[in-house]
Subunit: 356 residues, 4 copies
């Protein structure tokens, strides 16, 4: 199957290039009779939208989403929901240069090798602009999950500066431009990123997303494990190079008695005493918080001059001048949340089918 | 779709419980006229087989694979290849105790919550025994890839003891029971693991697998990126909690000019000067080595007493006495190699279909 | 999976309701570097467009297709091709009545029972308007197949009046409003349909589509046989109640020596002496013409008064006054051609993947 | 995807060649806690088994099915159910001749063209022996559907001799070797088939299967309509050349007021006054009986000499002497029933997922 769809029962397909007339997606499998308006989706897109601080790209996209199908009198009908966002702020001349050169760290070279053709305007299909439709589909996924499943995310590291988990405060996340849960770290990050931006460089980041209220039992062993699908979902986001669940790579350094979460009774229900598992055992949700982290590499489009070659095979250099994020990871937070919602919605429907 | 299949064009489905009569798989989509014998598969199974050193489980399984279909006069016919391995060394009484208790760190609780029933004998379907069929399917995938794509793996950390990459020697990997590429580390690991085993404990590990000779162009943006499918493949292996590609989580700490691999010409072909990308850009292979690492948590079945609850909701304790690996990560090396081969074979066929 | 997609490697997804703002589709898996313009698609849409004679619905839709993605400088890029057609001639008041009543022979009742909600305007998602996007996707499929595979269709029966195969002339098909290959029958059909239209009734039809130039070897035994996928494709078209391949139901009345097509050599290639098989044996194309016929039931929206019930469970009557086709089968000819092209394009890519 | 699987949520994959060591299937997605024994499956296999009268092939296969996984203490566990039947009565010498010649009406030529290799022993993968596993999977599907959905089938025509529907008696079906619902026709069919068999010929047949008790609402518009999936399911059976639903091809000859089933109330529920629709409107079940008919071509392996060519391109003749059915359609009745059960089980789970 071609690769532009995600999910099995809650399934969406995205289309569109960064500098084409529009981007969009079709969300199929949405249960009927769910109240849904453009506003329900717009609220999440607004959080992701670029140009909101000096730390994210200055492209000005209003990103107004339109629902073209699948909703009647304010409710989903069970037919495909088609969403579209027009591309407004498209300055293709910015990209004249890169049509001839392969930008290091970008997909320019690989698209060219794969397809023998590529749309170079703004990165074409490989642009992070595609992630707007993930956020839109994620908004519908949240509706499918209902209000009892709460999904949220935070940035836990920019470059070498990590949050102090002892100071973690979900309340702080929305009051700074970094989704930082550690308020004391915010000014440090500001100063650090300002320096990086001025030097024409960029830096990577680590994002953590979690879902609370997930019932036990979601996930399909053995290949469509909940965590396997989460790993795929997060790794499919632009610039992501690593994914971990619960204690993740840290669990490799633990001993068995430290790692395996013990169980006691709390009232009539079993309760885990810790959550190294990140809410998933044997690929199935335990009922604890599902916790996922992923690493985003530094923005590859930087002003610093880099060595590369042209499409004709000549050695050259490149320095990307356009509007770019010093840390593309910042904008990945709502995207990671959306992918978590989408994976859970898909598995909720799958679980209902076989075991409901 | 149910979760016991993997891949799209090179697609296999596994079945079987740890202590049922047999385990098996059906591999569909195998190109025709590939020479294939049971010996071609057995050689890889023998590498994974338990009971080969005191550091892996003492279960004695000959693991003789039989081909039941899809091969005629020594060649694949393009029809499904059915493989089966009988379960021989099945001592179900070892597990009488755990039928009543949820083992911490295991899937006992989640299977019970999902299905309302579980086969407790040897972990049933959640047992690592399932991975034998991954290795078998991987052997066929290697045949599909052909001799120019070379896949190999190594253990790069046991607990807190990591290999020294300056001493990396692929030649060393097969001459020790740990797949360790750093010969000087082997005695240290032996001593360390002996200690852990005697204490009735266990420890985690990190595995690295790589594929050399992969042509540029494999991978389907945007959701079936090569690295997204690799992340899913590795995370679907029992006990894996994290996956990374190339510099992985380390890339989050890099700056743009350090991370993005520069390009020069080498003869008539572009050449990358480093491989932080791990051989994948924009979800498509670059032609460099594809490099994947994954973290395996410590074996959860340990002799140390742990708190848990019974299926009836009573608090209790458990201590698992059976034959278990002090470091289940060791046996994950050939499984990781197999999954890498399977993902590449699938994407090779997918690439041929659209762009071949 | 949800049901609004078709195909595996050449895969498209349609969306949109009859009286929503637009209808559209996303075609994924299109090979790169195929010349493609809106005109290439429009030419087929124009053939299907309603309102071209008094024998098809008088709804006036210009049906101008727009390409929103996947094409760069006149060539496909291998990324999803998004197509959209705005709905212009939408008169929702025509349908005020049917919001309360289940029209006999329509999907009103079943959508309501399935989803608990339905969009009654113009039949919503169940409208034959959806077939415009099949024709659009089919236009791209023809491009994928290339000029050597020629697909065409004809109407072979309206009601009880069948064409005389002895007078079959493909040249006649485009010179009458019925796609009739038997020029002598045209005036009879005109008179017959005029009578039916004036009586406020309707009648069924049989369509035959064929593909010439199909290479031997397409089709995936045993469940995705070429003819099995063709049967699904045709049966998924609105109002279709039967599908047959080659001699079809007629072959049930034949004896073995009449039915099995004999083989001789023609030059260096085997040649079949007849084509009862309809170009498919064992689910795989033989190289002969692929021949498919399907039956379309009479238009269910008729002026004649019919008994039915309301959504509230009251008995009532209904007589549909709007603009409707006396024989909806006429407009199904280009839709059948499109579905044949789509199935072949999908199987061409699938064959390349495994055996190419 | 490769073609040896069927269904989406209730999904099975078959493997095995006619004269290999065994045939089998893996049924994935089975809901947990359904009582299931080998006897539950064997009862349906026994009905299909060849060699039970002089009108079906004399191959003597005990066809004893074994369950290898997915069942624990008599109940399904939600994990894959692996079924296997050993091939016992394999006389490969019977087929030495056909290894060199393409049998007219068989898949010999097309498999050879597709794969460049074929297993000629007994037709290899293309043998009707594969249908035993459809019957086995169908037995599990019936369990998923539960006792309220009743599926049954009958032979309605052999060659030119059709049953008289006025004499239809379901009770008669099991008391003759033809699944004939018209007891008065049985001696005629016997005489007719005896003649055909003695002449070394064969003849086609038409089968009708129906499901009673199907709830309204099953089916996924627009491509995975219930009837579209049924058409695919039936057309995928060996030798089937046509499929129709309800009035089928006959509906093409009807007028709108004859065809569209009127609706009245019966108590609190709507009731259709006729069933031309065959229980499906707009691709969704209406709650009436689902009625499907399919045409089976005459057995292609006949004693009568036929012209053909060799694999080396020489003209020759062939006359097949082995044990074959004069009317292969007879044995297709339980296979059609099984496919109907499988399609319904799959759609039942799909419906639960989105709308349950």
């Amino acid at each position: 199957m071609p690769g532009n769809s995600f999910g099995h029962l809650f399934r969406y397909t995205t289309w569109g290039e960064s500098h084409g007339p529009a981007i969009g997606c079709v969300v199929d499998g949405v249960p009927p009779r769910i109240p849904l308006s453009e506003g329900d989706i717009q609220v999440w897109l607004d959080k992701r939208r670029p140009g909101q601080s000096r730390f994210t790209t200055q492209r000005k996209e209003p990103d107004r989403v339109k629902i073209l199908s699948g909703v009647y009198e304010g409710q989903t009908t069970g037919t495909p929901v088609s969403l579209v966002i027009e591309n407004v702020d498209v300055r293709s001349k910015d990209y004249a240069d890169i049509a001839e050169k392969f930008r290091p760290g970008h997909a320019d070279y690989t698209y060219f090798k794969k397809y023998g053709i590529r749309d170079p305007r703004g990165g074409g299909r490989a642009s992070a602009r595609e992630t707007a439709m993930r956020v839109a589909a994620g908004a519908i996924a949240r509706k499918v999950l209902g209000p009892d499943i709460v999904i949220r995310g935070a940035l836990v590291a920019i470059g070498t500066l990590e949050v102090d988990r002892a100071r973690w405060d979900w309340g702080a996340v929305e009051s700074n431009p970094f989704w930082c849960p550690d308020a004391r770290l915010v000014p440090e990050w500001e100063k650090y990123l300002d320096g990086i931006r001025k030097e024409g460089s960029s830096v990577g980041a680590v994002i953590e997303v979690e879902a609370a209220g997930v019932p036990a039992g979601l996930g399909e062993p053995v290949y469509d494990k909940l965590d396997a699908d989460l790993a795929k979902a997060m790794m499919s986001i632009n610039a992501v190079k690593g994914v971990e669940i619960g204690s993740g790579f840290g669990s490799a350094r633990l001993r068995g008695e430290e790692n395996a979460d013990e169980i006691r009774m709390k009232g009539n229900e079993p309760e885990f005493l810790s959550n190294n598992a990140g809410g998933v055992l044997g690929g199935i949700s335990t009922g604890q918080n599902v916790v996922v982290r992923f690493a985003v590499k530094p923005t590859s489009s930087i002003a610093t001059t880099r060595r590369t070659v042209t499409t004709k095979g000549e050695e050259t250099e490149i320095s990307v001048k356009g509007r770019h994020d010093p840390c593309v990871g910042i904008r990945a937070v709502p995207v990671g949340e959306a992918m978590l919602a989408i994976v859970l919605a898909d598995h909720l429907l799958r679980h209902k089918a076989q075991c409901g």
